[in-house]
Symmetry: C2
Subunit: 358 residues, 2 copies
């Protein structure tokens, strides 16, 4: 038995505080029942206990350094105060701002977040969701779903509050906060067309994620709307949102018979890959090729040349999705909401008129 509680300090049993005081210790010290302590310390129940008793309990709790055991409370109430967050890749510089917005908003509401990095193997997603549910999370934020993701149905079946951020599922069966991907591409294309570009390439992201598919469709639509003939719309699809896949796709695009004068990348990491490819081919940006990124991830203003890119409000997305989740937790029957944030174009040095040798 009790090899755990009350670590014996020396030999004499003088005063062995050791492990954290429990509600019982506070109750004994005050000569009241534990339930009274519980009520006194709960903002919503404290009206049930006499003010002076409550005060006595509060000071006793403070002097003992009592902190309620969240695990025990969680077992009883069925709420853990934990939110699970599934990230595609923590090391992707685009993610921390979202995460930051999520955790800050949730912390303010008394929740802690468990962040799980799914990584390249998508089958881990389901596994991680199950692990998080087993940990009793009160809700999930998924930044990882692909179109037609089976995990969506799984979450629905588990009837646990779930919200999506940045990406959405094809059926739109879950509430989500996303940016207007198509509008973002329109900003990029219109900017290039205004500069005089007539042959524009696109490096699309993976087509199984909503941003990849929507941005590609958005690019096509924007280019057509700008009056570019179909043969002047060049598209290569990257297999992942990574710098290296961007480089490979850019090389494919550059090797086409009729090269584009500008490339719009589906995200900034892919744009970095374009820079790499340009270096390999001995081409200069923006003199030989204009480049537009997407996301405005940190420090792309420091690149050479500074990257023109479509800025999405990542921190705001994080905050919005957290609020959405809190609303769902408070009332799971709330209408499935979908918040679409408008991106803006940040013009920097990577775009110029074609043939404009500065």
């Amino acid at each position: 038995m009790g090899r755990k509680n009350r670590a014996v300090t020396g030999k004499g049993a003088k005063s062995a505080p050791a492990s954290r005081p429990t509600i019982k210790d506070v109750a004994e010290k005050c000569g009241v029942h534990p339930s009274t302590v519980s009520r006194a310390l709960s903002p919503v129940m404290s009206h049930l206990v006499a003010p002076e008793v409550a005060e006595r309990i509060r000071t006793a709790a403070a002097t003992l350094g009592y902190q309620p055991n969240v695990t025990a409370a969680g077992l009883r109430t069925g709420r853990s105060g934990l939110i699970g967050v599934l990230a595609p890749d923590i090391s992707d510089p685009g993610f921390p701002p979202i995460l930051s917005g999520v955790t800050e908003t949730l912390n303010a509401a008394g929740y802690a977040t468990i962040v799980a990095d799914v990584g390249p193997d998508p089958s881990r997603e389901r596994e991680l969701v199950d692990k998080l549910i087993a940990r009793g999370v009160d809700g999930l934020v998924l930044a990882t779903v692909v179109l037609n993701d089976p995990v969506v149905g799984h979450c629905l079946a588990a009837s646990i509050p779930v919200v999506l951020v940045n990406r959405s599922d094809s059926g739109r069966r879950l509430p989500a906060v996303v940016t207007d991907d198509e509008a973002g591409m329109r900003l990029a294309v219109d900017h290039l067309v205004a500069l005089g570009h007539r042959r524009i390439g696109h490096i699309a992201g993976p087509q199984d994620v909503s941003t990849g598919a929507l941005r590609r469709a958005g690019f096509r639509a924007a280019a057509a709307r700008a009056g570019l003939p179909a043969q002047n719309i060049l598209i290569e699809t990257a297999r992942a949102y990574t710098r290296d896949e961007g480089r490979l796709a850019a090389l494919r695009l550059l090797d086409r018979k009729q090269a584009a004068t500008a490339i719009v990348a589906a995200n900034d990491l892919l744009a970095l890959g374009i820079y790499d490819a340009l270096g390999e081919r001995g081409l200069k940006c923006p003199a030989d090729l204009s480049v537009v990124g997407h996301n405005d991830m940190p420090y792309v203003d420091m690149l050479s040349p500074p990257l023109t890119t479509v800025r999405i409000a990542q921190r705001q997305m994080g905050e919005a999705v957290a609020r959405l989740l809190l609303a769902r937790i408070a009332d799971p029957s709330t209408r499935r909401e979908r918040i679409v944030l408008e991106p803006i174009l940040i013009v920097r040095g990577s775009t110029a008129s074609p043939g404009d040798r500065e």
Copy 2:
């Protein structure tokens, strides 16, 4: 009573699985006692139950989709399987690689991590530590401690396994994984001296964190060892590891009567600030000034010019600190260990010989 369990699906009580099955459900289905189920499903206790019964239980658990309630188990065993990680700032691009190494190693050992972002207000640190302890974390990873941090004593008093990463406390009272900050500065200074620099500046980090103080001391020592006279060693101290503080410190340094021909920054974010300051003053790097960073955070190879910097093995640090923590949890009496990783210099385009106009 049960407003929680078994959400009623329709009217007929035909089959209402709804909320997750408990160990009791599995036991009933198998006609055994819950304790037998518990034993059968525990790798360490399963030898106590007959192999065929264990097998039956396992399949029943699988078909029911049973996952043990971690909260309940945690309450009983006193272990939560949670590790708290305190980060100075998740949005700092230097941190994700460390975090990635930590979480991956801990996940492999069955732990989940709660990441808390302390932010600029250091008093939140203590508060967050208490919150994490109240959540029953089995251990803490602190990437936030300052020299003489009161939180160190607090953790020691709470007798909870704690390890430090990247930074250490002044008394070295806690196990830590750090890099050899002084060696890193020696690499940087020696490189610049070899290029012919004789007046070298340093933008130091905050002096209340170990990296800031050690790197400054390391810089001084390396410069003296290289034979630079004291008046040729110029130091400005930044108030925080941010791009903007770096910019301000760089401007102060550039305004000195006798300007340096090279600056070593205490970290890459500060180096970014130097780039900004150079832009403001119309100076070119490396022609007018060589710059060396520290940390080799992601994508500094894409800057213009690509940043010469001291690379620290951040991912490895994360992995090492996780292993250290696991060892402490397994046996809290293990000797307080301190792991020092050796940095290497990555030479890129931001350093050149003084007066070398390419």
